[in-house]
């Protein structure tokens, strides 16, 4: 199976900064792979089979080359990095556009996996936008994927239980965080990784007009950003365990009627 995994480097908690145009500053921030994308990556590595390939695709600063090379050591065969100032400030629409072009240029792929949402934007829109742009079926929020005949059986948690969905390939599936735990890099993998290079792609190489990228290619703008302290809940407070525990128990008892 030829699998593409879209991954995103997100600022780790504590190093988040925003510029004057309300864009996240990724250059100075400490970045890490978005947690649900790591589940998608492990799902891809376990599904690809002995003859298969796993390609990772990301968009971001050139400094992502090294973390991408580390993914080679975990079994990734190819890494594509869309990097250019023109990509900066993209909303989900412009992001999906750029990814779609890269998929068309470097595909075809039997399966495209993504994390269900990135912890910086928390929109969860890119997987379905990408699927729509590529005219592929899409399942979001999956927790397990199993090959089934010519397609895939996908388990998806929903409020009332789980759904088992069959999807033909090619398809786009987004994975929930912590569903697959990413394998460790191996020594052999690290050695193999040394001879591999990340493919850097600019808008010109992708054949996309810069107007359709980044902030200028985005349909949405962040016009205001506020932080609000939710405040402390009203209610009795105590430092004493011997008073606090009975007080909580009585609130629970009261609520249960």
């Amino acid at each position: 199976m030829n699998v593409l995994v879209c991954v995103k480097a997100v600022p780790s908690t504590g190093s988040v900064q925003v510029d004057g145009a309300f864009r996240l500053q990724r250059d100075g921030a400490k970045l890490e792979w978005n947690v649900s994308d790591l589940s998608a990556l492990e799902a891809a590595l376990s599904l690809k089979g002995p003859e298969g390939r796993v390609t990772v695709l990301t968009m971001g600063p050139k400094k992502l080359e090294e973390p991408l090379r580390e993914l080679f050591a975990r079994g990734v065969d190819e890494a594509l990095l869309l990097t250019d100032p023109a990509f900066a400030g993209a909303d989900t629409f412009a992001t999906a556009n750029a990814l779609e072009t890269a998929v068309k240029n470097h595909g075809p792929f039997d399966l495209i996996l993504c994390g269900r949402r990135a912890i910086d934007g928390e929109t969860g829109q890119v997987p379905s936008m990408l699927a729509a742009a590529l005219a592929l079926p899409c399942i979001t929020g999956a927790e397990r994927i199993t090959p089934e005949g010519s397609g895939l059986l996908v388990r998806r948690p929903v409020e009332e239980g789980v759904q088992m969905l069959f999807v033909p390939m090619p398809a786009v599936i987004s994975l929930c965080e912590y569903t697959y735990s990413l394998r460790l890099p191996g020594i052999m993998g690290l050695r193999r990784a040394k001879g591999k290079a990340v493919t850097l792609l600019s808008p010109a190489e992708l054949g996309i007009d810069k107007e359709n990228l980044g902030l200028s290619g985005s349909l949405t703008r962040v016009i205001q950003m506020d932080s609000k302290f939710p405040g402390l809940r009203k209610g009795p407070k105590t430092d004493s365990l011997s008073q606090g525990i009975p007080a909580i128990l009585s609130v629970i008892k009261e609520a249960k009627g």
Partner: protein
């Protein structure tokens, strides 16, 4: 190529120098490069491009027992073993690790253990618990394994030991970090343990217990049984009256808290209960419990014997400052290191043998 997380640990040191006074390797070698913070500093320099990760730097990364004393004491929550392990991965992947380390890795590949010898078997059938002996006890301290099994038998516990017991991954993880090869070894052992259907695994070597309890689940190598240290298990048997205490030996002994019991499990009472039941009058060394000074580990003894001999001497000097005649341990790795250079008139006592 160390991870962002490891780099963060390497760079957040406050230069308070507390770790300088407690790192057993720094204390014995006197080399500034052997302070935990210096190891972090050189990795940080490598990351900034002002130093190159070469053979000398790799050697420095192996001059560490992964004893966690620095982790225990660092006010910033800085964890040198985290980046030291990753630096070892780099060293092995780039053929920069010391030859003595590479030799041990070849041994593991050839025989499944660092000693490059066939591992003696303690296999037996039993229905109550599974005992995991581990490669250090099996190959170097077999009497401790025999004594534990005998003690369980005397207590009426029917213990099973696996035929061809797989490695736990603890040795490999110290040699080359947490890499996929370690996770694969973990999965093999977890599958073998789960196949027995037994509900309790009694682990003789606390280094093995640590990796099983703290790492396996994250690697998809869940052990379905409850993993307990042999010291805890034996101490529970003592409390339950299944093992009879010995008469007083009229001898003073000091318990050595091994690195994992001291700083992973914070398990201090069980070996002391065992020592009292074995008839010893307990005295304490100055550096005890979480602050216990390491006496070395089996893997470092195998690739860096000279430094580990000095480290073990350091622990003996702690004992010499007490009135104890014996240092008491229930860990095969500590037993192995401490028996390398026993001072005149002193002895190392294996607490399982002492309880039979």
């Amino acid at each position: 190529m160390i991870s962002q997380n490891a780099l963060h640990h390497a760079e957040k040191c406050r230069f308070c120098f507390m770790c300088r006074h407690l790192c057993p390797i720094q204390l014995q070698t006197g080399k500034e490069i052997n302070t935990p913070r210096a190891k972090g500093l050189i990795l940080s320099m490598e990351n900034k491009g002002t130093a190159k990760f070469d053979r000398d730097m790799a050697q420095t990364m192996y001059e560490c027992l992964i004893c966690d004393a620095c982790v225990n004491d660092c006010a910033t929550g800085y964890q040198p073993p985290l980046f030291i392990r990753e630096a070892r991965t780099e060293a092995v992947a780039n053929d920069l690790a010391p030859e003595s380390v590479m030799k041990l890795l070849e041994n593991v590949e050839a025989t499944g253990n660092i000693y490059g010898a066939e591992k003696p078997s303690f296999a037996r059938e039993g229905k109550d618990v599974l005992v995991y002996v581990g490669e250090v006890a099996a190959c170097k301290v077999p009497k401790m394994a025999e004594s534990l099994l005998k003690l369980l038998e005397q207590a009426g516990v029917s213990a099973k030991v696996l035929e061809n017991e797989p490695g736990s991954g603890a040795m490999l993880a110290d040699l080359m970090g947490y890499v996929d090869e370690v996770a694969q070894e973990a999965k093999t052992l977890a599958n073998a343990i789960n196949a027995t259907g037994l509900k309790t695994v009694v682990v003789l070597d606390s280094y093995d217990a640590e990796i099983m309890k703290q790492r396996y689940a994250a690697w998809g190598a869940e052990i379905h049984a409850q993993v307990v240290t042999a010291t805890q298990y034996v101490s529970d048997l003592l409390k339950a009256g299944k093992i009879a205490p010995k008469a007083s030996l009229a001898k003073k002994g000091a318990c050595h808290d091994d690195d994992r019991l001291a700083r992973t499990f914070y398990e201090f009472e069980p070996i002391r209960e065992m020592a009292k039941a074995a008839g010893f009058e307990l005295v304490e060394m100055f550096n005890k419990e979480r602050l216990a000074k390491s006496c070395g580990s089996a893997v470092t003894l195998a690739y860096m014997p000279n430094i580990v001999l000095k480290v073990a001497s350091g622990r003996w000097s702690d004992l010499l400052r007490t009135e104890a005649q014996a240092i008491l341990t229930a860990n095969p790795q500590s037993y192995l290191c401490l028996t390398q250079n026993v001072p005149e008139g002193k002895e190392v006592v294996d607490l399982y043998s002492a309880l039979i």
